[in-house]
């Protein structure tokens, strides 16, 4: 199973500014200390091995879109339609040209803008040979996608799309076989609800997609059910938008979780890897990198029998399980 992150930012797509790029270049030049490089390959090796990620790279700014590639039935498996979906669609065209099936199984956490806003720019929706199946815990998924393409918001109406598009409502607690994977669904606490998904391939590899989920302070006893849903997962992709303090104070009821709670849940579930996800849009790359380092440290401080690998998702990250 290969998990590919096309969009990892929460709430609102963001872009690097000229000032932030200038700062990265300045830091890189200082780190180089006057060295010269024979060619771009040598310079890239320096960036890769000697610069921290916030200097030599970026976590990106596209909103939620994750692809799961598994030895299933040959269809695409995609979680959410944030702005990262545009890049996925361009990439998928290339793979379809090389023979990949033009079948897309989408799994929707929920229907807020940052999770559907990429669909009007999803090229394969205009492909008459494509088959798109939108799986959602929400029965109003079709209404949400149609509404964002009404003329007041977008020039291309939903009915002008050429792909065959279907909507299927999934029920929490039920198990499904979709795209050659076993799929389970969990209801989560978020405005208008959200849904988490557990995907297991035939090799037994499991990925959890759990974003836009607030773990309410008044119902901590219910977290045992969440840990059970995460149980023994190879990868848990978890909403870690805020610090714990923010999530229980000024940002309480905003529908999101923290790195601290995500690590505790993964420890309780004995999961193998956690991907910090749905990054706060006001965070710079340095802020996200600091949050990642602090998360690794918290995991070390509270570790039980088995270490939990704490990854920090970025646009373009691939995790092979």
């Amino acid at each position: 199973m290969l998990v590919r992150f096309w969009g990892t930012r929460g709430s609102l797509a963001v872009a690097q500014t000229a000032g932030s790029i200038r700062s990265k270049i300045a830091r890189a030049l200082v780190a180089a200390g006057g060295r010269s490089f024979a060619d771009e390959a040598e310079a890239e090796a320096f960036v890769e091995t000697e610069l921290d990620f916030a200097t030599g790279g970026t976590y990106g700014g596209a909103t939620t879109c994750i692809e799961i590639e598994a030895d299933g039935d040959g269809s695409f498996i995609v979680c959410d339609m944030g702005t990262g979906l545009r890049e996925f669609g361009i990439n998928a065209f290339g793979r379809c040209a090389a023979g990949h099936q033009r079948v897309y199984n989408f799994f929707m956490s929920h229907l807020h803008w940052d999770h559907i806003g990429g669909f009007p720019f999803f090229g394969p929706a205009f492909d008459p040979g494509a088959h798109i199946i939108v799986h959602s815990g929400h029965a109003d998924a079709e209404e949400a996608l149609r509404r964002q393409q009404q003329e007041i918001s977008f020039p291309v109406a939903f009915d002008w799309l050429r792909a065959k598009i279907e909507f299927r409502t999934l029920v929490p607690g039920e198990s499904y076989r979709i795209g050659g994977l076993d799929v389970e669904v969990m209801e989560q606490h978020h405005s208008h609800k959200s849904y988490g998904y557990r995907f297991t391939d035939d090799a037994g590899k499991t990925t959890i997609f759990s974003t836009d989920s607030e773990h309410k302070i008044e119902s901590m006893e219910g977290e045992a059910d969440v840990a059970a849903f995460f149980r023994d997962a190879d990868l848990v992709i978890c909403d870690t938008m805020y610090s714990l303090a923010d999530s229980v104070s000024m940002k309480e009821d905003w529908g999101h979780s923290s790195n601290i709670v995500a690590i505790d849940l993964c420890h309780e579930a004995e999961a193998k890897r956690l991907a910090l996800f749905h990054h706060e849009p006001i965070y710079s790359d340095e802020d996200i990198q600091r949050m990642h380092k602090e998360s690794i440290r918290y995991e070390e401080l509270t570790r039980r029998d088995r270490p939990l690998e704490v990854l920090c998702a970025y646009d373009g990250l691939e995790v092979r399980l």
């Binding site: 923290s258 602090e294 998360s295 509270t302």
Partner: protein, 112 residues
Amino acid sequence: MMWTQEVREGAIVAVPRGKIDESTAQAFGTSLEEAVGHAADAAARLVLDCSGIDYMSSRGLRALTLAKRKADGAGVKILLAAPNGVVREILAISRYDKLFGVTDTVEAALTV
């Protein structure tokens, strides 16, 4: 998790000991809220002597928040005193050191 409590210099000083995680957080929270009640009755501050806490997970931290809400409503000030290095790091990583006053010693918490 063990819990002892005393009145010292007009304050309620509570001393939890052990790990505070999902297995002990409920007992920790119950004791904490009872201590807030005692402090409210005595019009005293509540000093949580953290020196005996090995570590505290998010469950314990959030129990602190629930107790703080009750304390704020009753006009009780909660201070976290003498956390060990691990707990101090956890308070910083979770940003709980922005929500609570943290002192190096119990004596300092009694006088600030």
